[in-house]
Protein backbone atom coordinates (compact mmCIF):
# COMPACT_ATOMS: atom_id res chain seq x y z
CA UNK A 1 0.00 0.00 0.00
CA UNK A 2 2.68 2.48 1.07
CA UNK A 3 4.84 1.76 -1.96
CA UNK A 4 1.91 2.21 -4.33
CA UNK A 5 1.11 5.59 -2.78
CA UNK A 6 4.66 6.79 -3.08
CA UNK A 7 5.24 5.83 -6.71
CA UNK A 8 1.98 7.34 -7.90
CA UNK A 9 2.62 10.60 -6.05
CA UNK A 10 6.13 10.84 -7.50
CA UNK A 11 4.87 10.26 -10.98
CA UNK A 12 2.40 13.12 -10.87
CA UNK A 13 5.10 15.61 -10.04
CA UNK A 14 7.73 14.52 -12.52
CA UNK A 15 7.45 12.67 -15.79
CA UNK A 16 8.74 9.14 -16.15
CA UNK A 17 12.52 8.98 -16.12
CA UNK A 18 14.28 8.64 -19.42
CA UNK A 19 16.02 5.32 -19.53
CA UNK A 20 19.30 5.02 -21.32
CA UNK A 21 19.30 1.22 -21.38
CA UNK A 22 16.03 -0.63 -21.35
CA UNK A 23 17.69 -3.89 -20.37
CA UNK A 24 16.09 -6.23 -17.84
CA UNK A 25 15.64 -4.61 -14.47
CA UNK A 26 17.49 -1.46 -15.44
CA UNK A 27 15.42 1.66 -14.97
CA UNK A 28 12.38 -0.16 -13.70
CA UNK A 29 13.70 -1.91 -10.62
CA UNK A 30 10.24 -2.18 -9.12
CA UNK A 31 9.44 -4.76 -11.80
CA UNK A 32 8.88 -7.68 -11.35
CA UNK A 33 7.24 -7.11 -8.00
CA UNK A 34 6.70 -9.70 -5.34
CA UNK A 35 3.53 -11.62 -5.89
CA UNK A 36 0.82 -10.08 -3.71
CA UNK A 37 -1.57 -12.78 -2.51
CA UNK A 38 -4.34 -10.26 -1.85
CA UNK A 39 -4.13 -8.72 -5.29
CA UNK A 40 -6.37 -11.39 -6.84
CA UNK A 41 -9.06 -10.74 -4.27
CA UNK A 42 -8.75 -6.98 -4.62
CA UNK A 43 -8.89 -7.08 -8.42
CA UNK A 44 -11.81 -9.51 -8.37
CA UNK A 45 -13.69 -7.17 -6.05
CA UNK A 46 -12.98 -4.19 -8.31
CA UNK A 47 -14.50 -6.13 -11.18
CA UNK A 48 -17.40 -7.18 -8.98
CA UNK A 49 -18.01 -3.49 -8.44
CA UNK A 50 -18.04 -3.10 -12.21
CA UNK A 51 -20.75 -5.77 -12.53
CA UNK A 52 -22.84 -4.05 -9.90
CA UNK A 53 -22.52 -0.66 -11.58
CA UNK A 54 -23.69 -2.29 -14.78
CA UNK A 55 -26.65 -3.74 -12.97
CA UNK A 56 -27.51 -0.34 -11.53
CA UNK A 57 -27.29 1.25 -14.97
CA UNK A 58 -29.55 -1.35 -16.55
CA UNK A 59 -32.55 -1.53 -14.24
CA UNK A 60 -34.38 -3.67 -16.79
CA UNK A 61 -32.25 -6.56 -15.54
CA UNK A 62 -34.18 -6.36 -12.29
CA UNK A 63 -37.33 -7.34 -14.14
CA UNK A 64 -35.70 -10.65 -14.97
CA UNK A 65 -34.54 -11.16 -11.44
CA UNK A 66 -37.97 -10.32 -10.03
CA UNK A 67 -40.46 -11.71 -12.47
CA UNK A 68 -39.03 -15.15 -13.01
CA UNK A 69 -39.27 -16.37 -9.38
CA UNK A 70 -42.74 -14.83 -8.98
CA UNK A 71 -43.95 -16.59 -12.12
CA UNK A 72 -42.58 -19.91 -10.95
CA UNK A 73 -44.15 -19.57 -7.53
CA UNK A 74 -47.54 -18.67 -8.96
CA UNK A 75 -47.40 -21.37 -11.59
CA UNK A 76 -46.39 -24.22 -9.34
CA UNK A 77 -48.34 -23.31 -6.25
CA UNK A 78 -51.67 -22.53 -7.92
CA UNK A 79 -51.44 -24.64 -11.04
CA UNK A 80 -49.99 -27.88 -9.69
CA UNK A 81 -50.15 -27.37 -5.93
CA UNK A 82 -53.61 -28.85 -5.47
CA UNK A 83 -52.82 -31.85 -7.61
CA UNK A 84 -49.44 -32.62 -6.07
CA UNK A 85 -49.98 -32.01 -2.38
CA UNK A 86 -53.76 -31.78 -2.05
CA UNK A 87 -53.69 -28.20 -0.79
CA UNK A 88 -52.00 -25.14 -2.23
CA UNK A 89 -51.00 -23.93 1.20
CA UNK A 90 -49.25 -27.18 2.09
CA UNK A 91 -47.59 -27.27 -1.27
CA UNK A 92 -46.36 -23.70 -0.86
CA UNK A 93 -44.58 -24.73 2.33
CA UNK A 94 -43.06 -27.63 0.45
CA UNK A 95 -42.09 -25.97 -2.80
CA UNK A 96 -40.90 -22.52 -1.79
CA UNK A 97 -37.52 -23.70 -0.48
CA UNK A 98 -37.16 -25.58 -3.76
CA UNK A 99 -38.02 -22.53 -5.82
CA UNK A 100 -35.41 -20.61 -3.88
CA UNK A 101 -32.84 -23.13 -5.09
CA UNK A 102 -34.25 -23.32 -8.59
CA UNK A 103 -34.27 -19.54 -9.04
CA UNK A 104 -30.64 -19.21 -8.09
CA UNK A 105 -29.48 -22.20 -10.12
CA UNK A 106 -31.31 -20.77 -13.13
CA UNK A 107 -29.79 -17.38 -12.55
CA UNK A 108 -26.34 -18.95 -12.49
CA UNK A 109 -26.91 -20.23 -16.03
CA UNK A 110 -26.92 -16.60 -17.10
CA UNK A 111 -23.36 -16.00 -15.92
CA UNK A 112 -21.95 -17.70 -18.99
CA UNK A 113 -24.12 -15.70 -21.36
CA UNK A 114 -23.19 -12.36 -19.82
CA UNK A 115 -19.54 -13.24 -19.81
CA UNK A 116 -19.57 -14.37 -23.41
CA UNK A 117 -21.15 -11.06 -24.46
CA UNK A 118 -18.62 -9.16 -22.39
CA UNK A 119 -15.65 -11.01 -23.84
CA UNK A 120 -16.87 -10.25 -27.34
CA UNK A 121 -17.00 -6.54 -26.54
CA UNK A 122 -13.30 -5.93 -26.24
CA UNK A 123 -13.05 -4.62 -22.71
CA UNK A 124 -11.73 -8.06 -21.83
CA UNK A 125 -8.80 -7.43 -24.16
CA UNK A 126 -7.93 -4.52 -21.95
CA UNK A 127 -8.15 -6.70 -18.84
CA UNK A 128 -5.85 -9.20 -20.51
CA UNK A 129 -3.26 -6.53 -21.18
CA UNK A 130 -3.25 -5.42 -17.53
CA UNK A 131 -0.94 -6.93 -14.93
CA UNK A 132 -3.77 -8.68 -13.09
CA UNK A 133 -4.48 -12.33 -12.47
CA UNK A 134 -6.49 -14.02 -15.21
CA UNK A 135 -8.81 -15.18 -12.48
CA UNK A 136 -9.94 -11.66 -11.59
CA UNK A 137 -12.16 -10.82 -14.60
CA UNK A 138 -13.94 -14.17 -14.26
CA UNK A 139 -14.13 -14.02 -10.48
CA UNK A 140 -15.50 -10.50 -10.70
CA UNK A 141 -18.24 -11.57 -13.07
CA UNK A 142 -19.24 -14.51 -10.86
CA UNK A 143 -19.21 -12.50 -7.65
CA UNK A 144 -21.24 -9.77 -9.32
CA UNK A 145 -23.83 -12.39 -10.20
CA UNK A 146 -23.86 -13.74 -6.67
CA UNK A 147 -24.95 -10.27 -5.56
CA UNK A 148 -27.82 -10.50 -8.05
CA UNK A 149 -28.89 -13.81 -6.55
CA UNK A 150 -29.38 -11.99 -3.27
CA UNK A 151 -31.99 -9.86 -5.00
CA UNK A 152 -33.75 -12.96 -6.32
CA UNK A 153 -33.67 -14.59 -2.91
CA UNK A 154 -35.24 -11.51 -1.33
CA UNK A 155 -38.00 -11.61 -3.96
CA UNK A 156 -38.72 -15.29 -3.31
CA UNK A 157 -38.99 -14.72 0.43
CA UNK A 158 -40.97 -11.49 0.04
CA UNK A 159 -43.49 -12.80 -2.45
CA UNK A 160 -43.69 -16.16 -0.69
CA UNK A 161 -44.54 -14.50 2.61
CA UNK A 162 -47.14 -12.34 0.94
CA UNK A 163 -49.05 -15.39 -0.26
CA UNK A 164 -48.70 -17.25 3.03
CA UNK A 165 -45.33 -18.96 3.26
CA UNK A 166 -44.13 -19.15 6.84
CA UNK A 167 -40.62 -20.05 7.98
CA UNK A 168 -40.99 -22.71 10.69
CA UNK A 169 -37.55 -22.26 12.16
CA UNK A 170 -35.39 -19.38 13.32
CA UNK A 171 -33.34 -16.58 11.73
CA UNK A 172 -30.08 -18.51 12.06
CA UNK A 173 -31.49 -21.34 10.00
CA UNK A 174 -32.68 -18.86 7.38
CA UNK A 175 -29.22 -17.34 7.16
CA UNK A 176 -27.64 -20.77 6.93
CA UNK A 177 -30.01 -21.71 4.11
CA UNK A 178 -29.26 -18.52 2.19
CA UNK A 179 -25.52 -18.97 2.66
CA UNK A 180 -25.71 -22.55 1.45
CA UNK A 181 -27.63 -21.53 -1.66
CA UNK A 182 -25.16 -18.75 -2.45
CA UNK A 183 -22.10 -20.93 -1.96
CA UNK A 184 -23.54 -23.59 -4.22
CA UNK A 185 -24.57 -21.06 -6.88
CA UNK A 186 -21.12 -19.52 -6.78
CA UNK A 187 -19.58 -22.90 -7.50
CA UNK A 188 -22.15 -23.81 -10.17
CA UNK A 189 -21.51 -20.55 -12.01
CA UNK A 190 -18.03 -21.74 -12.91
CA UNK A 191 -19.49 -24.51 -15.08
CA UNK A 192 -21.22 -21.81 -17.10
CA UNK A 193 -18.18 -19.57 -17.05
CA UNK A 194 -16.33 -22.35 -18.86
CA UNK A 195 -19.07 -22.34 -21.51
CA UNK A 196 -19.03 -18.55 -21.73
CA UNK A 197 -15.28 -18.43 -22.20
CA UNK A 198 -15.11 -21.33 -24.64
CA UNK A 199 -18.00 -20.58 -26.97
CA UNK A 200 -18.07 -17.60 -29.26
CA UNK A 201 -21.79 -17.02 -29.58
CA UNK A 202 -23.79 -16.00 -26.48
CA UNK A 203 -26.83 -17.76 -27.87
CA UNK A 204 -25.11 -21.14 -28.04
CA UNK A 205 -23.95 -20.55 -24.48
CA UNK A 206 -27.56 -19.93 -23.51
CA UNK A 207 -28.76 -23.07 -25.26
CA UNK A 208 -26.11 -25.32 -23.79
CA UNK A 209 -26.58 -23.89 -20.31
CA UNK A 210 -30.32 -24.57 -20.52
CA UNK A 211 -29.63 -28.11 -21.59
CA UNK A 212 -27.62 -28.58 -18.41
CA UNK A 213 -29.94 -26.55 -16.24
CA UNK A 214 -33.14 -28.49 -16.90
CA UNK A 215 -32.05 -31.92 -15.67
CA UNK A 216 -30.38 -30.26 -12.71
CA UNK A 217 -33.47 -28.42 -11.52
CA UNK A 218 -36.36 -30.53 -12.80
CA UNK A 219 -34.55 -33.80 -12.18
CA UNK A 220 -34.43 -32.98 -8.50
CA UNK A 221 -36.71 -33.02 -5.49
CA UNK A 222 -37.60 -29.37 -5.96
CA UNK A 223 -41.19 -29.81 -7.14
CA UNK A 224 -42.04 -33.31 -5.98
CA UNK A 225 -40.65 -35.79 -3.49
CA UNK A 226 -38.22 -38.36 -4.88
CA UNK A 227 -40.33 -41.20 -3.45
CA UNK A 228 -43.10 -40.41 -5.95
CA UNK A 229 -40.79 -40.97 -8.94
CA UNK A 230 -39.92 -44.08 -10.95
CA UNK A 231 -36.73 -45.85 -9.91
CA UNK A 232 -34.47 -44.70 -12.72
CA UNK A 233 -35.38 -41.09 -12.08
CA UNK A 234 -34.94 -41.51 -8.34
CA UNK A 235 -31.44 -42.78 -8.97
CA UNK A 236 -30.57 -39.53 -10.75
CA UNK A 237 -32.44 -37.34 -8.29
CA UNK A 238 -30.54 -38.92 -5.42
CA UNK A 239 -27.13 -38.14 -6.85
CA UNK A 240 -28.10 -34.71 -8.17
CA UNK A 241 -26.34 -32.13 -5.97
CA UNK A 242 -29.33 -29.81 -6.39
CA UNK A 243 -31.42 -32.38 -4.49
CA UNK A 244 -29.05 -32.28 -1.55
CA UNK A 245 -29.19 -28.52 -1.54
CA UNK A 246 -32.98 -28.53 -1.74
CA UNK A 247 -33.30 -31.04 1.09
CA UNK A 248 -30.94 -29.02 3.23
CA UNK A 249 -32.78 -25.77 2.56
CA UNK A 250 -36.17 -27.41 3.12
CA UNK A 251 -34.98 -28.81 6.44
CA UNK A 252 -33.50 -25.49 7.47
CA UNK A 253 -36.56 -23.43 6.59
CA UNK A 254 -39.56 -25.67 7.12
CA UNK A 255 -39.11 -29.19 8.32
CA UNK A 256 -36.61 -28.67 11.11
CA UNK A 257 -34.26 -31.40 12.26
CA UNK A 258 -30.70 -31.98 11.20
CA UNK A 259 -29.60 -30.66 7.84
CA UNK A 260 -25.94 -31.52 8.43
CA UNK A 261 -25.77 -34.49 6.07
CA UNK A 262 -27.31 -32.70 3.10
CA UNK A 263 -25.48 -29.48 3.87
CA UNK A 264 -22.13 -31.26 3.92
CA UNK A 265 -22.95 -33.10 0.72
CA UNK A 266 -23.85 -29.77 -0.90
CA UNK A 267 -20.65 -28.14 0.26
CA UNK A 268 -18.59 -31.10 -0.91
CA UNK A 269 -20.21 -30.88 -4.33
CA UNK A 270 -19.62 -27.14 -4.43
CA UNK A 271 -15.96 -27.63 -3.56
CA UNK A 272 -15.51 -30.28 -6.24
CA UNK A 273 -17.29 -28.25 -8.92
CA UNK A 274 -15.27 -25.17 -8.06
CA UNK A 275 -11.99 -27.08 -7.93
CA UNK A 276 -12.59 -28.55 -11.37
CA UNK A 277 -14.29 -25.77 -13.28
CA UNK A 278 -12.64 -22.61 -11.94
CA UNK A 279 -9.12 -23.63 -13.01
CA UNK A 280 -10.52 -24.95 -16.27
CA UNK A 281 -12.25 -21.63 -16.92
CA UNK A 282 -9.10 -19.66 -16.15
CA UNK A 283 -7.08 -21.95 -18.38
CA UNK A 284 -9.56 -21.57 -21.25
CA UNK A 285 -9.57 -17.82 -20.78
CA UNK A 286 -5.77 -17.66 -20.72
CA UNK A 287 -5.37 -19.55 -23.95
CA UNK A 288 -8.26 -17.87 -25.75
CA UNK A 289 -7.09 -15.94 -28.80
Amino acid sequence: MTTATRTAADDTTKSAPKLPHPGPGIGHDEIPRRADPFAVVRHSLTLTWRSLVKLKRQPEQFIDLTLQPILFIVMFVYLFGGAIEGSTQDYLQFVLPGILVQTVVFASLGTGVGLCEDINKGVFDRFRSLPISRFAPLGGAVLGDVCRYVVSIAIVFGFGSAIGFRVQTGPLEVLAAIALVLVFAFAMSWIFVVLGVTMRNPRSVQGTAMLLGFPLTFGANIFARAETMPGWLQAWVDVNPVSHLTSAVRTLLVEGGSATGDALATLAWAAVIFAVFAPLAVHKYKTKT
Binding site: A9, P22, K121, G122, V123, R126
Partner: protein
Amino acid sequence: MTSYAIEAEGLVKKYGSTTAIDGIDLVARQGSVLALLGPNGAGKTTTVRTLATLIKPDAGYARIGGYDVVRQSAPVRRLIGLTGQYASVDEDISGYQNLVMIGRLLDFSRAEAKARADELLARFELTEAAHRAPGTYSGGMRRRLDLAASLVGRPQFLYLDEPTTGLDPRSRGDVWELVRNLVAEDGVTVLLTTQYLDEADQLANDIAVIDHGRVIANGTADSLKAQVGGQSLEIRPADPARLAETAAIVAELTGSAPDSTTRPGLVTTAVHDPDLLPYVVRRLDEAGIRATELALRLPSLDEVFLELTGHPAEDAQPEPAAA
Protein backbone atom coordinates in the same frame (compact mmCIF):
# COMPACT_ATOMS: atom_id res chain seq x y z
CA MET B 1 23.55 -7.01 -26.55
CA THR B 2 20.10 -5.72 -25.78
CA SER B 3 19.84 -2.11 -26.76
CA TYR B 4 16.36 -1.92 -28.21
CA ALA B 5 13.21 -1.22 -26.24
CA ILE B 6 11.12 -3.37 -28.57
CA GLU B 7 12.68 -6.36 -30.24
CA ALA B 8 10.89 -9.04 -32.17
CA GLU B 9 12.39 -11.76 -34.26
CA GLY B 10 10.72 -14.28 -36.51
CA LEU B 11 7.26 -13.95 -35.00
CA VAL B 12 4.83 -16.43 -36.52
CA LYS B 13 1.16 -16.89 -35.70
CA LYS B 14 -1.14 -19.27 -37.53
CA TYR B 15 -4.88 -19.62 -37.25
CA GLY B 16 -5.69 -22.99 -38.71
CA SER B 17 -4.57 -22.75 -42.29
CA THR B 18 -4.31 -18.95 -42.23
CA THR B 19 -0.88 -17.59 -41.45
CA ALA B 20 -1.64 -14.27 -39.81
CA ILE B 21 2.02 -13.32 -39.40
CA ASP B 22 4.85 -15.11 -41.05
CA GLY B 23 8.17 -14.18 -39.46
CA ILE B 24 7.95 -10.56 -38.31
CA ASP B 25 11.21 -8.87 -37.28
CA LEU B 26 11.01 -5.49 -35.57
CA VAL B 27 13.14 -3.21 -33.44
CA ALA B 28 12.43 0.14 -31.84
CA ARG B 29 14.62 2.35 -29.71
CA GLN B 30 13.57 3.66 -26.32
CA GLY B 31 11.48 6.81 -26.73
CA SER B 32 10.94 6.38 -30.46
CA VAL B 33 7.83 5.82 -32.52
CA LEU B 34 7.65 2.74 -34.71
CA ALA B 35 4.86 2.54 -37.27
CA LEU B 36 3.58 -0.66 -38.81
CA LEU B 37 2.18 0.26 -42.17
CA GLY B 38 0.09 -2.19 -44.10
CA PRO B 39 -3.23 -2.93 -45.79
CA ASN B 40 -6.17 -4.85 -44.33
CA GLY B 41 -5.23 -8.33 -43.24
CA ALA B 42 -1.49 -7.66 -43.39
CA GLY B 43 -1.03 -8.86 -39.83
CA LYS B 44 -0.73 -5.56 -37.95
CA THR B 45 -3.25 -6.37 -35.24
CA THR B 46 -1.84 -9.85 -34.78
CA THR B 47 1.62 -8.38 -34.31
CA VAL B 48 0.40 -5.83 -31.77
CA ARG B 49 -1.58 -8.43 -29.86
CA THR B 50 1.46 -10.68 -29.72
CA LEU B 51 3.63 -7.88 -28.38
CA ALA B 52 0.87 -7.05 -25.88
CA THR B 53 0.96 -10.66 -24.54
CA LEU B 54 -2.63 -11.27 -25.68
CA ILE B 55 -1.63 -14.09 -27.99
CA LYS B 56 1.29 -16.46 -27.91
CA PRO B 57 3.34 -16.67 -31.07
CA ASP B 58 3.79 -20.10 -32.66
CA ALA B 59 7.42 -19.29 -33.36
CA GLY B 60 9.89 -16.48 -32.78
CA TYR B 61 10.32 -14.30 -29.73
CA ALA B 62 9.79 -10.72 -28.67
CA ARG B 63 11.17 -8.65 -25.85
CA ILE B 64 9.67 -5.47 -24.47
CA GLY B 65 12.02 -3.46 -22.29
CA GLY B 66 14.12 -6.59 -22.06
CA TYR B 67 11.27 -8.84 -20.89
CA ASP B 68 10.12 -11.78 -22.94
CA VAL B 69 6.46 -11.47 -23.94
CA VAL B 70 5.80 -15.17 -23.43
CA ARG B 71 7.91 -16.14 -20.43
CA GLN B 72 7.78 -12.80 -18.61
CA SER B 73 4.34 -11.61 -19.55
CA ALA B 74 3.61 -10.17 -16.10
CA PRO B 75 6.40 -7.56 -16.14
CA VAL B 76 5.62 -6.79 -19.77
CA ARG B 77 2.03 -6.02 -18.83
CA ARG B 78 3.27 -3.57 -16.22
CA LEU B 79 5.14 -1.64 -18.90
CA ILE B 80 2.56 -1.43 -21.65
CA GLY B 81 -0.63 0.42 -22.42
CA LEU B 82 -2.80 -0.89 -25.25
CA THR B 83 -5.37 0.88 -27.36
CA GLY B 84 -6.83 -1.84 -29.51
CA GLN B 85 -8.21 -1.42 -32.99
CA TYR B 86 -11.74 -1.90 -31.72
CA ALA B 87 -12.67 0.22 -28.74
CA SER B 88 -11.79 -1.68 -25.61
CA VAL B 89 -13.66 0.50 -23.17
CA ASP B 90 -16.55 -0.77 -21.15
CA GLU B 91 -19.72 0.46 -22.81
CA ASP B 92 -21.88 -0.19 -19.79
CA ILE B 93 -20.21 1.98 -17.17
CA SER B 94 -19.40 5.69 -17.43
CA GLY B 95 -16.17 7.05 -18.88
CA TYR B 96 -15.09 8.14 -15.43
CA GLN B 97 -15.88 4.74 -13.95
CA ASN B 98 -13.88 3.10 -16.73
CA LEU B 99 -10.78 5.03 -15.77
CA VAL B 100 -11.26 4.58 -12.04
CA MET B 101 -11.70 0.84 -12.56
CA ILE B 102 -8.42 0.59 -14.44
CA GLY B 103 -6.64 2.65 -11.82
CA ARG B 104 -7.92 0.30 -9.14
CA LEU B 105 -6.83 -2.73 -11.15
CA LEU B 106 -3.38 -1.15 -11.33
CA ASP B 107 -3.36 -0.96 -7.53
CA PHE B 108 -3.92 2.77 -7.21
CA SER B 109 -5.67 3.74 -3.99
CA ARG B 110 -9.26 4.88 -4.37
CA ALA B 111 -8.22 8.53 -4.12
CA GLU B 112 -5.34 8.13 -6.59
CA ALA B 113 -7.55 6.31 -9.07
CA LYS B 114 -10.14 9.08 -8.93
CA ALA B 115 -7.55 11.83 -9.22
CA ARG B 116 -5.92 10.12 -12.19
CA ALA B 117 -9.30 9.66 -13.87
CA ASP B 118 -10.14 13.36 -13.47
CA GLU B 119 -6.73 14.37 -14.74
CA LEU B 120 -7.01 12.22 -17.86
CA LEU B 121 -10.60 13.22 -18.57
CA ALA B 122 -9.55 16.86 -18.45
CA ARG B 123 -6.54 16.22 -20.67
CA PHE B 124 -8.69 14.47 -23.26
CA GLU B 125 -11.50 17.01 -23.07
CA LEU B 126 -13.97 14.47 -21.82
CA THR B 127 -14.83 16.10 -18.50
CA GLU B 128 -18.32 17.01 -19.62
CA ALA B 129 -19.08 13.52 -20.86
CA ALA B 130 -17.38 11.88 -17.88
CA HIS B 131 -20.49 10.51 -16.30
CA ARG B 132 -22.18 9.27 -19.45
CA ALA B 133 -21.77 5.75 -20.77
CA PRO B 134 -19.33 5.54 -23.71
CA GLY B 135 -22.21 4.05 -25.69
CA THR B 136 -23.42 7.63 -26.09
CA TYR B 137 -20.02 9.01 -27.19
CA SER B 138 -19.03 9.95 -30.72
CA GLY B 139 -16.36 7.84 -32.40
CA GLY B 140 -13.70 10.42 -31.65
CA MET B 141 -14.66 10.68 -28.00
CA ARG B 142 -14.59 6.94 -27.62
CA ARG B 143 -11.12 6.80 -29.15
CA ARG B 144 -9.96 9.45 -26.73
CA LEU B 145 -11.40 7.57 -23.79
CA ASP B 146 -9.71 4.43 -25.04
CA LEU B 147 -6.42 6.29 -25.21
CA ALA B 148 -6.94 7.73 -21.76
CA ALA B 149 -7.65 4.25 -20.46
CA SER B 150 -4.37 2.94 -21.83
CA LEU B 151 -2.48 5.80 -20.17
CA VAL B 152 -3.85 5.37 -16.64
CA GLY B 153 -0.81 3.38 -15.53
CA ARG B 154 1.70 5.76 -17.15
CA PRO B 155 3.01 3.04 -19.43
CA GLN B 156 6.51 3.23 -20.85
CA PHE B 157 5.28 1.50 -23.98
CA LEU B 158 2.15 2.51 -25.77
CA TYR B 159 0.58 0.38 -28.49
CA LEU B 160 -1.91 2.10 -30.76
CA ASP B 161 -3.68 -0.10 -33.29
CA GLU B 162 -4.98 2.18 -36.05
CA PRO B 163 -5.55 5.04 -33.63
CA THR B 164 -7.03 7.44 -36.16
CA THR B 165 -9.03 5.21 -38.47
CA GLY B 166 -12.51 6.65 -38.68
CA LEU B 167 -11.61 10.00 -37.14
CA ASP B 168 -12.20 13.37 -38.76
CA PRO B 169 -9.11 15.45 -39.65
CA ARG B 170 -9.29 17.54 -36.49
CA SER B 171 -9.55 14.57 -34.14
CA ARG B 172 -6.80 12.94 -36.13
CA GLY B 173 -4.56 15.94 -35.56
CA ASP B 174 -5.43 15.84 -31.85
CA VAL B 175 -4.31 12.23 -31.59
CA TRP B 176 -1.08 13.03 -33.42
CA GLU B 177 -0.39 15.93 -31.07
CA LEU B 178 -0.97 13.67 -28.12
CA VAL B 179 1.38 11.00 -29.33
CA ARG B 180 4.08 13.58 -29.98
CA ASN B 181 3.69 14.96 -26.46
CA LEU B 182 3.86 11.54 -24.88
CA VAL B 183 7.08 10.82 -26.68
CA ALA B 184 8.64 14.22 -26.07
CA GLU B 185 7.59 14.72 -22.45
CA ASP B 186 7.34 11.24 -21.01
CA GLY B 187 9.83 9.36 -23.15
CA VAL B 188 7.18 6.80 -24.03
CA THR B 189 8.05 4.29 -26.74
CA VAL B 190 5.15 4.07 -29.18
CA LEU B 191 4.21 1.26 -31.53
CA LEU B 192 1.41 2.27 -33.84
CA THR B 193 -0.24 0.69 -36.82
CA THR B 194 -1.73 2.60 -39.67
CA GLN B 195 -2.87 2.32 -43.24
CA TYR B 196 -1.67 5.82 -44.08
CA LEU B 197 1.84 6.72 -45.07
CA ASP B 198 1.24 10.32 -44.12
CA GLU B 199 0.36 9.30 -40.57
CA ALA B 200 3.49 7.20 -40.32
CA ASP B 201 5.44 10.09 -41.82
CA GLN B 202 3.98 12.55 -39.30
CA LEU B 203 4.67 10.47 -36.23
CA ALA B 204 7.15 7.71 -36.75
CA ASN B 205 10.92 7.61 -36.51
CA ASP B 206 10.88 4.23 -38.16
CA ILE B 207 8.39 2.54 -40.41
CA ALA B 208 7.96 -1.15 -41.09
CA VAL B 209 5.85 -1.93 -44.10
CA ILE B 210 3.94 -5.17 -43.62
CA ASP B 211 2.36 -7.30 -46.27
CA HIS B 212 1.05 -10.85 -46.00
CA GLY B 213 2.46 -11.19 -42.49
CA ARG B 214 5.99 -10.15 -43.43
CA VAL B 215 8.01 -6.98 -43.15
CA ILE B 216 8.72 -6.08 -46.76
CA ALA B 217 10.55 -2.82 -46.13
CA ASN B 218 11.69 -0.80 -43.21
CA GLY B 219 13.58 2.32 -42.39
CA THR B 220 12.99 5.94 -41.56
CA ALA B 221 10.14 7.78 -43.18
CA ASP B 222 12.64 9.62 -45.35
CA SER B 223 14.45 6.54 -46.54
CA LEU B 224 11.14 4.91 -47.32
CA LYS B 225 9.94 7.94 -49.22
CA ALA B 226 13.19 8.02 -51.14
CA GLN B 227 12.70 4.37 -51.96
CA VAL B 228 9.20 4.96 -53.27
CA GLY B 229 9.92 8.20 -55.06
CA GLY B 230 9.50 11.01 -52.55
CA GLN B 231 6.54 13.35 -52.73
CA SER B 232 4.53 14.38 -55.68
CA LEU B 233 3.62 17.96 -56.52
CA GLU B 234 0.14 18.43 -57.93
CA ILE B 235 -1.18 21.63 -59.46
CA ARG B 236 -4.56 22.19 -61.07
CA PRO B 237 -4.77 25.58 -62.77
CA ALA B 238 -8.18 27.23 -62.46
CA ASP B 239 -8.09 27.92 -66.16
CA PRO B 240 -7.41 24.62 -68.00
CA ALA B 241 -6.09 26.61 -70.95
CA ARG B 242 -3.03 27.55 -68.94
CA LEU B 243 -2.00 23.94 -68.30
CA ALA B 244 0.98 24.08 -70.64
CA GLU B 245 2.17 27.34 -69.13
CA THR B 246 1.95 25.82 -65.64
CA ALA B 247 3.85 22.75 -66.77
CA ALA B 248 6.60 24.97 -68.18
CA ILE B 249 7.06 26.79 -64.86
CA VAL B 250 7.25 23.49 -63.00
CA ALA B 251 9.73 22.11 -65.51
CA GLU B 252 11.91 25.15 -65.09
CA LEU B 253 11.92 24.86 -61.28
CA THR B 254 12.36 21.11 -60.95
CA GLY B 255 14.57 20.61 -63.90
CA SER B 256 12.46 17.85 -65.42
CA ALA B 257 9.30 17.76 -67.46
CA PRO B 258 6.13 17.13 -65.39
CA ASP B 259 3.25 14.89 -66.33
CA SER B 260 0.29 16.91 -67.54
CA THR B 261 -1.59 14.29 -69.48
CA THR B 262 -2.30 11.25 -67.26
CA ARG B 263 -4.85 13.04 -65.11
CA PRO B 264 -6.86 15.63 -67.01
CA GLY B 265 -6.24 19.22 -65.97
CA LEU B 266 -3.58 18.25 -63.45
CA VAL B 267 0.17 18.83 -63.57
CA THR B 268 2.03 16.28 -61.48
CA THR B 269 5.68 15.61 -60.87
CA ALA B 270 7.87 13.82 -58.35
CA VAL B 271 9.85 16.18 -56.13
CA HIS B 272 12.59 15.38 -53.69
CA ASP B 273 12.88 18.82 -52.15
CA PRO B 274 9.76 19.96 -50.27
CA ASP B 275 11.20 23.49 -49.97
CA LEU B 276 10.38 23.96 -53.60
CA LEU B 277 6.72 24.67 -52.93
CA PRO B 278 7.03 28.38 -52.02
CA TYR B 279 8.97 29.04 -55.24
CA VAL B 280 6.28 27.35 -57.27
CA VAL B 281 3.60 29.42 -55.57
CA ARG B 282 5.50 32.66 -56.18
CA ARG B 283 6.16 31.93 -59.84
CA LEU B 284 2.55 30.97 -60.48
CA ASP B 285 1.47 34.15 -58.76
CA GLU B 286 3.83 36.26 -60.86
CA ALA B 287 2.47 34.63 -63.99
CA GLY B 288 -1.07 35.34 -62.79
CA ILE B 289 -2.05 31.68 -62.82
CA ARG B 290 -4.62 30.80 -60.19
CA ALA B 291 -4.64 27.22 -58.95
CA THR B 292 -7.70 25.43 -57.54
CA GLU B 293 -5.50 22.64 -56.27
CA LEU B 294 -1.89 22.88 -55.27
CA ALA B 295 -0.33 20.26 -53.05
CA LEU B 296 2.72 18.30 -52.10
CA ARG B 297 1.42 14.84 -51.54
CA LEU B 298 2.99 11.71 -50.13
CA PRO B 299 2.51 8.57 -52.13
CA SER B 300 -0.59 6.67 -50.98
CA LEU B 301 -0.30 3.22 -49.47
CA ASP B 302 -1.24 1.88 -52.86
CA GLU B 303 1.60 3.69 -54.57
CA VAL B 304 4.03 2.55 -51.88
CA PHE B 305 2.98 -1.02 -52.36
CA LEU B 306 3.09 -0.78 -56.08
CA GLU B 307 6.63 0.48 -55.81
CA LEU B 308 7.78 -2.05 -53.20
CA THR B 309 6.03 -5.19 -54.32
CA GLY B 310 4.99 -4.57 -57.85
CA HIS B 311 1.39 -5.20 -56.88
CA PRO B 312 -1.16 -2.87 -55.31
CA ALA B 313 -2.18 -3.25 -51.67
CA GLU B 314 -4.87 -5.85 -51.36
CA ASP B 315 -6.65 -7.69 -48.64
CA ALA B 316 -4.30 -10.48 -47.72
CA GLN B 317 -6.54 -13.52 -47.57
CA PRO B 318 -10.20 -14.30 -47.61
CA GLU B 319 -11.59 -15.06 -44.17
CA PRO B 320 -11.20 -18.75 -43.42
CA ALA B 321 -14.51 -20.57 -43.31
CA ALA B 322 -14.12 -21.76 -39.72
CA ALA B 323 -12.89 -19.32 -37.11
